[in-house]
């Protein structure tokens, strides 16, 4: 479904990711592991079209999307939920969600259906629908960010560190929801530092280190890989 072929991104003279090859099949939940600055977010930005790669190509459903603008990539079905959440903080929860359905704005009933689906996934958002996004707690904001991304009906949902800064109990809920979204048919690409939790729900994973993929394999293989265990699971 998605294939990165020898993708490199540079910020000035600094190479953020180098010759990254990643493949995601339809229906999979794939996780990118790695510490801060390893290149996960840069990879996401390149896929979303926010950063342009200096080398390599990105194929989505067989077609190159590397030259497409960010809004066209969203239209094609790749939606990112970014690490900083990037909500419209002075808009209400429901306004944020409706804005998430921007690419489907003409199909009013479809937007309504997506909205009730998101409220069903995250009942707290319905409760707080007329509050401003900025007034929500960190966990609720993260739910809203995921909900807003789902409103665009992505074929591929990219989640950048959804567990960052959240209480352990909330993290657990968050991963349950991500698994549910995946089970209901959305392909998910997840970037995480929380390797243990992420590998439990993922099919496969890639480990990033200083801008390159160093280990790849099924979740089972990664969970039992000594280097991965040492570096990211701490056992």
């Amino acid at each position: 479904m998605l294939r990165l072929a020898g993708l490199s991104v540079a910020y000035g003279s600094f190479t953020a990711i180098q010759a990254v090859d990643i493949e995601v099949q339809e229906g999979e939940l794939v996780v990118l592991l790695g510490s801060n600055g390893a290149g996960k977010s840069t990879t996401f930005k390149a896929i979303s079209g926010i950063e342009k790669p200096c080398e390599g190509d990105i194929y989505f459903e067989g077609k190159s999307i590397v030259k497409k603008s960010p809004d066209r990539i969203v239209k094609a079905g790749i939606v990112q939920c970014a690490e900083g959440r990037e909500l419209f903080s002075r808009m209400t929860v429901s306004e944020n969600l409706v804005m998430g359905a921007y690419v489907h704005r003409k199909q009013k009933t479809e937007v309504k259906n997506s909205l009730s689906r998101v409220y069903e996934l995250f009942p707290i958002l319905q409760e707080k629908k007329s509050h401003t996004a900025g007034s929500l707690s960190g966990g609720q904001q993260q739910m809203l960010a995921i909900g807003r991304a789902l409103m665009a009906k992505p074929k591929l949902l990219m989640l950048d560190e959804p567990s960052i800064g959240l209480a352990p109990l909330i993290v657990e809920q968050m991963f349950e929801v991500i698994q549910r979204i995946n089970n209901e048919g959305t392909t998910v690409l997840l970037a995480e530092q929380n390797a243990n939790a992420a590998l439990k729900i993922a099919d496969r994973g890639y480990v990033f280190e200083s801008g390159a993929v160093v280990v790849r394999g099924s979740s089972q293989e990664l969970l039992t890989n000594d280097d991965v265990r040492k570096a990211y699971i701490g056992a």
Binding site: P70, D71, L87, R90, M91, M99, R105, A152
Partner: protein
Amino acid sequence: MDILTQQLFNGLTIGSVYSLVALGLTLVYGILHIPNFAHGALYMLGAYVTLTSMLLWNMNYWLAIALSVIVVGLLGVLMERLVFNPLKNAPPIHDKIAAIGILLFLEALAQLMWGADYRSMSTPYGEVVNIFGMTVTMQRMLINIGAIVVMVLLYLFLKKTFVGSTIIAMAQNRKGAHLVGINTNKVAMLTFLISGALAAIAASLSSPINLVFPGMGHLVILKAFVIIILGGMGSIPGAIVGGYILGFSESLGATYISNDYKDIIAFVLLIVILSIKPQGLFSREGF
């Protein structure tokens, strides 16, 4: 008492014009973070286009305003496409330099096309009427009512239409707007279109009570910057309230202090607001 009400009315009129100009400036700043010094030139061109269409083609005042709104709005879009969009990833100082460059260019162009003479614009609304014991011209009434109508329309557009909410979304979080698939180029062009249109309306309404000349935008744009600093950079209510505050202070200052110092009041206000509340009255809460 009589003088006071008369001056309050004058303040309202001047404030209406200031608010309209400041609104266009604050929209562009709030959404695209460009301090558009060339906005004063758009204001000046708005007046010239209206004047020319009335004199040269005998157009009706309203038709001339409509043409001016379209021409100057499109000029705003052109400015965004040709100058500011290519500078999107450049350091912010480049926007400022470019804006001043456009200002100088457009002023020189106006001087070339229409000459440096001061011209007056005639209006079909020259008659004097008596309202609540005040003697006012219809044109001044028109400025007040016109400004309020435009502001209400702008408010409804931003708050009640989907296109309007994409503008607000981009003002609040540009990256978030990218993520939901908003075409930020289109929003940028639309913002410049509205900004140019507002400048044209302000100039066309106020020219019959002022004069039209190539440098007419200078003081107006400087004051508009004072207003948006006063109201909070990028804040819409800030631009409106700030415009009226300046309008009232100027007309009252001109009466009770000295007419010669009227243009200084804006800058005294600027110093006061920067010392007391540098983030401005509204600090963008209203967007």
